[in-house]
């Protein structure tokens, strides 16, 4: 995450990003800047915005639509961005020397994702999930992200090449579930 304040990430001059028929969009939306710096281009909306109900800039709105569709689920399940964030979260939990066991790692994950302690039911369910998954998943390649042509940034954040072990893999799955959960996606 690039925390730079201000400025523009448009790579084209004024009007250069407006295309008549969307056949040649000049914008890549590739930057790991905060979402507020993402350009809003009327005829070529940023995919993440469009997927998650950003208001349409062509018409006026009295309220923001809020939809629940399979695309959003597919995004949470299969987007490299989500998997990559889950992988990093899992890595930080596994490397944290202050966390003595898996129960406390689960607790920390809940604090990070939901800003609340995990319940005993949730810890128990999480442990069972990890216990079942770790022996069967095997190692995995690291998720490649960001990717300048997809949802990711243009190289603002780096990612390591290589592989992760079965334990990290199982934890990546667990963290992905937390990120895909209603509690993470919705503001209560």
């Amino acid at each position: 995450m690039d925390r730079t304040v201000g400025g523009s990430i448009l790579r084209t001059g004024n009007f250069g990003y407006v295309t008549n028929d969307q056949s040649r969009s000049n914008e890549r939306y590739g930057a790991s800047r905060r979402a507020i710096y993402m350009p809003v281009i009327r005829n070529d909306m940023y995919e993440l915005f469009a997927t998650f109900d950003y208001t349409d800039p062509s018409v006026s709105f009295d309220r923001r639509p809020s939809t629940v569709v399979a695309q959003q689920s597919l995004f949470m399940m299969n987007s490299p961005m989500v998997a990559s964030q889950a992988e990093r979260l899992a890595g930080s939990l596994l490397e944290d020397p202050g966390l003595a066991d898996d129960a406390s790692r689960i607790g920390q994950a809940y604090e990070i994702c939901f800003a609340r302690p995990a319940t005993s039911v949730e810890i128990e369910r999480g442990l069972r999930f990890l216990g079942e998954l770790e022996p069967v998943v095997g190692e995995s390649t690291r998720v490649s992200w960001p990717d300048a042509d997809s949802m990711g940034g243009s190289g603002g954040a780096e990612h390591a090449e290589g592989r992760i072990d079965a334990r990290h893999h199982a934890w990546r799955s667990f963290c992905k579930v937390l990120i895909a959960s209603n509690e993470f996606i919705y503001v209560r």
Partner: protein, 481 residues
């Protein structure tokens, strides 16, 4: 995402389970026993469909015998000119360069000049003798299957508002799309695919609001494949390829479902949150089914050629048309193909309209013939048209301005009269004059062809019942076969 405006958490799965003291068994029985009369009654009661009783996409029975089961909408974004395609005006051809002898609309989009004849040659085609300009030679061959409406009129001369009007019936408020209303009214014949699919939809001029479910339950939202910025051959349901092992993903989804249900138990019923649990299951099934639909590998060479896939000009829209047939075959209720923002010729009309037509003509004709050969045309309603037409008077010498006051659309199959033409514009093709058909009337007619009464298909939101046709709409039964 801080509120779930418009989605009313009035019937949750928990409420239903409480009411059905037999639990899941009773629910299953209730589903099996829901007879047609009950479904009819549910459908006719405003806003009383419980989307969770039989699933939001469960097939529901229409109000009366349907003529069509499903719709394919071929949308020509930008506004194709009626007087250069299907609405032949000899007087316009004769009076080129003269002033329009009657008043132009009070509100115009751009400044226009004198009358401009169509630069194209016109001929009558087929046994029905319909006029088609030379830029649609392939469509001209299937003209005996088409039912023209030449007296359409809308309300707004700007693209954004006109797109919203044609798709949702409302140019100034966020309302459910026609495909959403239809899927809400009738459900989907295929539970593993969305009921409403839109191929390469435009991102501008209302964008997602042209296929959004607005206040209808989210299951009726149009599912986009690609968008206008990508080629049809590259268009995919986003993130459709399962990441990693399917077994691992199944375990993840099971955990996710349990955690989400824990949340719902703690915080109470919420249709949107429960809907999201359903969409993960739909997404999981789609990963298996959708790639097969998108794969044209088992189509014959002849079929691919017929749709123009071997020609770089016709390939893109031809592929959309072929995909539309494949989705329709599998029971998707409403499929839209979009020829994106091409038809807006304020200038350079002669070359650009010719090129636009060339891009879509082969695919359109192939779709009609293919549906017919497969016996699907009679129950599939194909609709062709743009958000408005264009002026018979010139803009910048060789272009035409937007014209919502009179334009042409056509339908095929689905219980409409083949080789028929309804309504007429004035002698220059500017204003709809005879048997006028407003966009609301078009919507009412489409619903009626599907067996749905546009006055009874309602949904209560913000204190009142809403319809696709608002408080208007006349069923143009004159075009029914």
């Amino acid at each position: 995402m801080s509120d779930f405006c418009g989605i009313r958490p009035n019937h949750s799965r928990r409420d239903m389970l409480k009411q059905c003291c037999g639990g899941f068994g009773a629910v299953a029985m209730a589903g099996l026993l829901a007879d047609e009369a009950k479904a009819d009654e549910l459908l006719s009661r405003p806003g009383k469909i419980d989307p969770f009783t039989r699933g939001p996409l469960a097939v529901r029975h229409p109000h009366f015998a349907p003529r069509a089961k499903r719709v394919i909408f071929l949308f020509m974004h930008g506004g194709p000119s009626q007087v250069d395609t299907f609405d032949y005006k000899p007087k316009l051809q004769a009076d080129h360069g003269k002033e329009l002898p009657f008043a132009k609309p009070r509100v115009q989009f751009a400044k226009t000049g004198s009358l401009m004849a169509s630069p194209y040659k016109w001929k009558q085609h087929g046994g029905s003798g319909q006029w088609v300009s030379e830029i649609f030679p392939e469509t001209a061959k299937v003209v005996d299957d088409l039912c023209f409406i030449k007296s359409l009129h809308g309300s707004n001369p700007a693209h954004g508002a006109a797109l919203l009007k044609i798709h949702t019936g409302s140019e100034n408020f966020v309302r459910p799309s026609m495909g959403s209303w239809i899927t809400y009214g009738l459900g989907s014949e295929n539970r593993d695919l969305p009921g409403f699919v839109t191929i390469c939809p435009t991102l501008g001029h209302g964008g997602v609001n042209n296929y959004s479910s607005a206040f209808l339950p989210a299951a009726y939202h149009g599912t986009a494949i690609g968008h206008a910025g990508v080629k049809a051959s590259q268009a995919r349901f986003e993130h459709m390829t399962a990441m990693g092992d399917a077994g691992v993903q199944r375990a993840e989804l099971d955990l996710l479902k349990e955690l989400n249900q824990l949340g719902i138990e703690e915080h109470g019923p919420n249709a949107a949150l429960e809907g999201r649990i359903e969409t993960f299951e739909l997404a999981f099934r789609m990963q298996g089914v959708a790639p097969e639909v998108m794969d044209l590998g088992n189509e014959t060479k002849a079929t691919k050629q017929m749709y123009g896939l071997d020609d770089s000009v016709t390939e893109n829209f031809g592929r959309q048309c072929l995909l539309a047939r494949r989705f329709s075959e599998r029971g998707v209720r409403f499929v839209q193909c979009t020829h994106s923002y091409k038809w807006d010729q304020h200038g350079n009309l002669e070359a650009a309209h010719r090129n636009n037509a060339r891009e879509v003509d082969t695919g359109i004709a192939a779709l009609i013939m293919d549906l017919k050969n497969r016996g699907m045309l009679e129950e599939t309603l194909v609709i062709w048209g743009g958000e408005f037409g264009r002026t018979p008077v010139a803009q910048d010498g060789n272009g035409r301005d937007h014209n919502p006051h009179g334009f042409t659309m056509w339908m095929a199959g689905g219980g409409v009269k083949p080789g028929f033409s309804y309504g007429a514009t004035d002698e220059y093709g500017f204003y709809a004059l005879e048997d006028k058909v407003h966009v609301h009337d078009l919507h009412a007619t489409i619903l009626a062809l599907l067996g749905v009464d546009h006055e009874r298909l309602t949904y209560r939101d913000a204190g009142r019942d809403f319809r696709l046709t608002d408080v208007a709409g006349r069923v143009v039964s004159e075009i029914f076969a």
